[in-house]
């Protein structure tokens, strides 16, 4: 293990932890601009998290230990997930223990704990949220896995850094299969991160909410961890998208410390662009009814499978 790899690893996790709320704040700000509202500060998510950490936690009377454990597990898996996605450099020591399929497994673990915790108190909203969250999840997960599958078939490995390096070194090689999967991935990203059109992060209207319903019983530090974890999840998805579809600017193992310095502005540019793009999608589309969400995700799955077929047919 080289020192620079260790630094990359620590830096990546630190950047993810620090920048995830900022990315969320940036999306909210863009959205406000596009919708002609006066924008909240980009730092608002940080203030929110700090405020929540300072409050006293209230637990429902019949909450079990599972309810208290869940935020830590969800947060922990999301942090580890951030450590295995090559957002800045590909020489990550942690990544030998987890490839792209494990990453999907980690997301699934977080989702299961979230859903179980939501069912724990036994309120109408909690179980409703858990059911919907799992419904979105079970449709989005295979689509995500198919997206990763296509990238893995192209680079003949499921290790994320190897995929990124392989795709980055193809001199502007345009893969038609990746174009399909990029569409699929965007749809999955929207659905998995509770964005419009599948869910609305700003709503607390019971008929429409999915993700927020699962968090309804949480307060204070538990809620802070959950909020931070969902910001991290969005950040992770964005970085996974960069690693698969715009892998340029990531420090490769052979470039050394200089590449790492270059990767910081590259990541920042990608995040700014992606945030603006997400805000645009959320502004121009309308929220779907919950019953329509499966169709939305089936489309994503279909696009991913199409990408797979295109890859096998054209070999590209």
């Amino acid at each position: 293990m080289r020192l620079v790899d260790l630094i990359t690893q620590v830096l990546e996790i630190a950047v993810a932890l620090a920048a995830a709320p900022l990315f969320l704040g940036w999306i909210n700000q863009c959205r406000a601009w596009l919708q002609n509202r006066s924008a909240p500060s980009v730092w608002l998510p940080y203030r929110n998290i700090r405020k929540l950490f300072e409050k006293q936690a209230v637990l429902a009377e019949n909450a079990s230990p599972l309810f208290r454990v869940a935020p830590y597990v969800v947060f922990g898996t999301m942090v580890v997930a951030a450590g295995i996605i090559p957002s800045m450099g590909t020489g990550l020591p942690l990544v030998v223990s987890a490839d792209a399929i494990v990453l999907v497994g980690l997301f699934a673990a977080a989702r299961m704990f979230l859903a179980l915790a939501a069912m724990d108190v036994g309120t109408a909203f909690g179980t409703l949220g858990a059911r919907r969250e799992m419904m979105v999840g079970f449709l989005a997960e295979p689509a995500l896995l198919m997206v990763i599958f296509v990238a893995s078939l192209i680079s003949a490995t499921t290790a994320l850094p190897a995929i990124t390096e392989h795709l980055a070194t193809q001199a502007l090689g345009l893969y038609p299969s990746l174009a399909f999967t990029a569409v699929a991935f965007t749809l999955v990203l929207l659905a998995e991160n509770a964005r419009i059109p599948v869910d609305n992060p700003a709503t607390h209207l019971e008929l429409t909410m999915i993700h927020e319903a699962t968090l309804l019983e949480y307060s204070a530090r538990h809620l802070a961890l959950m909020e931070w974890a969902s910001a991290l999840k969005l950040f992770n998805y964005a970085c996974l998208g960069f690693a698969l579809f715009v892998p340029w600017g990531v420090a490769e193992t052979r470039t050394g410390p200089g590449g790492l310095l270059m990767s910081v502005p590259a990541l920042a540019v990608k995040l700014v662009a992606a945030g603006a793009g997400l805000a645009l999608i959320e502004t121009v589309s309308a929220k779907l009814r919950v019953m329509r969400a499966p169709e939305f995700l089936a489309t994503a799955f279909l696009f991913a499978v199409l990408g797979l077929l295109v890859h096998v047919l054209l070999g590209a």
């Binding site: 223990s97 494990v102 699934a108 069912m119 179980t127 858990a130 797979l308």
Partner: protein, 666 residues
């Protein structure tokens, strides 16, 4: 002497199980004798069996023995090789946990007397052991039949209930249809030599047509035992009917004997499978896996839900086997070994995790008297042992890293990634599509398991009587902990397990499977830079969790306060407002409507006592079994006309037959 020969030790264990079984007849009515003495003894025997078979697997021993019992000229040929050793480990290790649990589980007044139950139970165990050791068709079929019959009697423990009797009958019927097919398969395999030892079958060189016939017969016969769609219908009937330790044994171990049979016939007796055979188990397996899960998601009976989940898992195992046959047939040994290892790994995993969950439902059933998910809830407070240990099984089955279910799923997906290199067009496109279905199944399994755990153990109790529920006893805890520990260890040490599986795949496929990695890193494909380190992953998550806990506890020392759940300011929040099991399955019912036969009764606004009823059933019943049953009945009616019950008519038949024979002869 016993230790020097692993096969003799295995036989001694099987004989020990028989002795334990018959010893129970000394005091057939005593729950104490059977429960406190015999079942724990049987469990220790299981541990011994697993240990001996495990040592034999690692040392690569191959042993034969001819036991001069049975009919004259038909001795028992026995053989202990890598494949049977692996499945004996599975049998011994998972039955140990189940037997410990059973020691504390069986009570008086559950139908069959405890002594008889103990006999049937241990006969069942021993017969499964003999199935795995048999080296000729005769002893294989004999132990196969003893296995089917003893499990039939175990299923119908509560034989005074009509539904349970009919569930048992269905099981017996399909078991025998399958057994007939297996018998025919052996008939084909002997290839005209009329020698029914497995050695003779290995030596017989069959024409491709006959070999295909043998393979298809084996797939049908063993598929009936394993529960491949459309032969799966007995599982959701028999599992809820049987006592929980028996369900665990049947689902966890007996289904695996069918997998063992398929592997034995395909890779050992037929030796060189054709590549396209693999497409049959591959397609059937994928369909079975998906079908099982979709149905599991809409069940309201917790044991039926698990039975459908078993169908799913068997589907995944057959998918992996099919993939392995395809790869082996087209000359891709490394992916073939990988897929086969995925199948074997999943068998081991499923034996532990499904047994664990079935035993968990057994404890819930004893504590509450309810199998219906709609009357359970909140049991994590009353039954913490069962709940937390079941959570391990739930997460394992849902394929959550770092537990064991994930490892086999990971191996399966990795082997699917070689699918595009199959040198047959269309197939190389269709096989990666199979991965899409596996991915869908993996995600659906998470849904089903959240429903299972959430509705039973979380939330508020849906019935007042649940407040009296009690946690399971000490022996039951031992059994559950043993199985949960198995799930954790199989998940955390995949490299070590796969190294042993490699011995089995090498003996079946004939090519070694080189693995890289260190003790904490599992790298089954050294040339693809692919690796998985569950220990590191767990340590990393744990480190983050500890850091956060320290941060919240030390930096901002705060205690939590308890308060009522948020009721939107309206008040009157009660247990009826939670999702029911039906409610939780509703999205699946909507999305996959075409799979189900749904009967709905919707109340009109004018109903004084509105009742909402929905019944979801299997289309295959109406499409296949009912017409088949009707056809059997019709043909029986036709044949019954021959039977007049008057002696004069029968004399006439004899006379006519005689005349016809005479005419033929003359």
């Amino acid at each position: 002497l016993l230790l020097s020969s692993p096969l003799a030790t295995c036989l001694a264990v099987l004989a020990g199980w028989l002795v334990i079984g018959f010893a129970a007849l000394l005091r057939p009515g005593s729950v104490r004798f059977a429960g406190r003495t015999l079942f724990p003894l049987g469990a220790l025997m299981g541990v011994l069996l697993a240990a001996v078979a495990g040592v034999n697997l690692i040392s690569g021993g191959l042993e034969r023995l001819v036991l001069p019992i049975g009919l004259p000229d038909l001795p028992f040929h026995l053989r202990l090789d890598a494949l049977s050793s692996l499945f004996l480990v599975l049998l011994g290790a998972s039955s140990a946990g189940i037997s410990f649990f059973a020691a504390g589980y069986f009570r008086r007044g559950e139908g069959t007397a405890p002594g008889l139950l103990c006999l049937q139970y241990h006969l069942f165990l021993a017969s499964m052991g003999f199935v795995l050791l048999a080296d000729d068709a005769y002893s294989f079929m004999l132990s196969w039949e003893v296995m089917a019959l003893s499990s039939y009697f175990l299923v119908t423990t509560q034989h005074r209930i009509a539904e349970i009797r009919s569930a048992g009958f269905l099981y017996l019927l399909i078991a025998h249809v399958g057994a007939l097919s297996i018998l025919l398969c052996f008939g084909v395999l002997q290839g005209g030599s009329w020698q029914f030892t497995f050695d003779a079958m290995r030596a017989a060189h069959l024409q491709p047509g006959w070999a295909t016939a043998a393979f298809l017969l084996a797939t049908f016969g063993f598929g009936a035992k394993a529960g491949l769609v459309p032969l799966h219908v007995w599982l959701p009937e028999a599992h809820p009917a049987a006592p929980s330790p028996v369900s665990a044994l049947m689902s966890g171990v007996m289904l695996k004997t069918a997998v063992y049979g398929v592997l034995r016939v395909t890779f050992d007796l037929l030796a060189h499978p054709l590549w396209w055979w693999g497409l049959v188990p591959l397609a059937l397996g994928l369909f079975t896996a998906f079908y099982g899960l979709v149905f599991a998601a809409v069940q309201t009976d917790m044991k039926r839900l698990l039975a459908y989940s078993s169908i799913e898992n068997i589907g995944l195992v057959f998918t992996a086997i099919g993939l392995s046959i395809v790869f082996a047939g087209v000359g891709m040994p490394a992916p073939a070994a990988l897929a086969l290892a995925a199948a074997l790994y999943h068998c081991l995993n499923h034996a532990f995790m499904k047994s664990l969950l079935f035993l968990g439902t057994g404890s819930v059933l004893h504590a509450t008297g309810e199998r219906n998910l709609g009357r359970l809830g909140g049991l994590i407070h009353r039954m913490p042992w069962v709940a937390w240990l079941s959570l391990v099984g739930v997460l394992a089955i849902a394929g959550v890293p770092p537990l064991n279910g994930f490892v086999s799923e990971w191996l399966l997906l990795q082997s699917f990634l070689f699918g595009d290199q199959i040198p047959h067009s269309f197939v190389n496109m269709l096989v990666p599509m199979g991965a899409a279905l596996v991915a869908l199944c993996a995600a659906l399994a998470g849904y089903v398991m959240v429903k299972f755990f959430g509705v039973i153990f979380l939330g508020q109790p849906r019935e007042a009587s649940l407040a009296r529920a009690h946690d399971c006893g000490a022996l039951e805890r031992i059994g559950l902990t043993w199985l949960a520990l198995g799930c954790v260890l199989l998940g955390l040490f995949p490299g070590q397990v796969a190294a042993q599986l490699a011995l089995v795949t090498e003996s079946l496929l004939g090519t070694a499977w080189p693995q890289g990695g260190t003790w904490w890193l599992f790298a089954p494909l050294s040339d693809r830079q692919v690796s998985y380190g569950p220990l590191v992953l767990l340590a990393a998550v744990a480190a983050v969790v500890v850091a956060v806990v320290l941060f919240t506890r030390v930096v901002r020392r705060q205690r939590v306060r308890r308060g009522p759940a948020w009721d939107c300011g309206f008040g009157g929040l009660d247990a009826r407002m939670q999702d029911t099991a039906e409610g939780f399955g509703q999205p699946i019912r909507n999305i996959f409507q075409s799979f189900f036969q749904i009967e709905r009764e919707l109340p009109t606004p004018l109903d004084r006592e509105p009742r909402y009823r929905v019944k979801v059933s299997d289309r295959i019943w109406g499409a296949l079994y009912q017409p088949l049953g009707a056809a059997v009945r019709r043909s029986a009616d036709v044949i019954a006309r021959v039977q007049q019950g008057r002696i004069a008519v029968y004399l006439l038949y004899s006379f006519v037959t005689l005349l016809v024979l005479l005419a033929l002869v003359l």
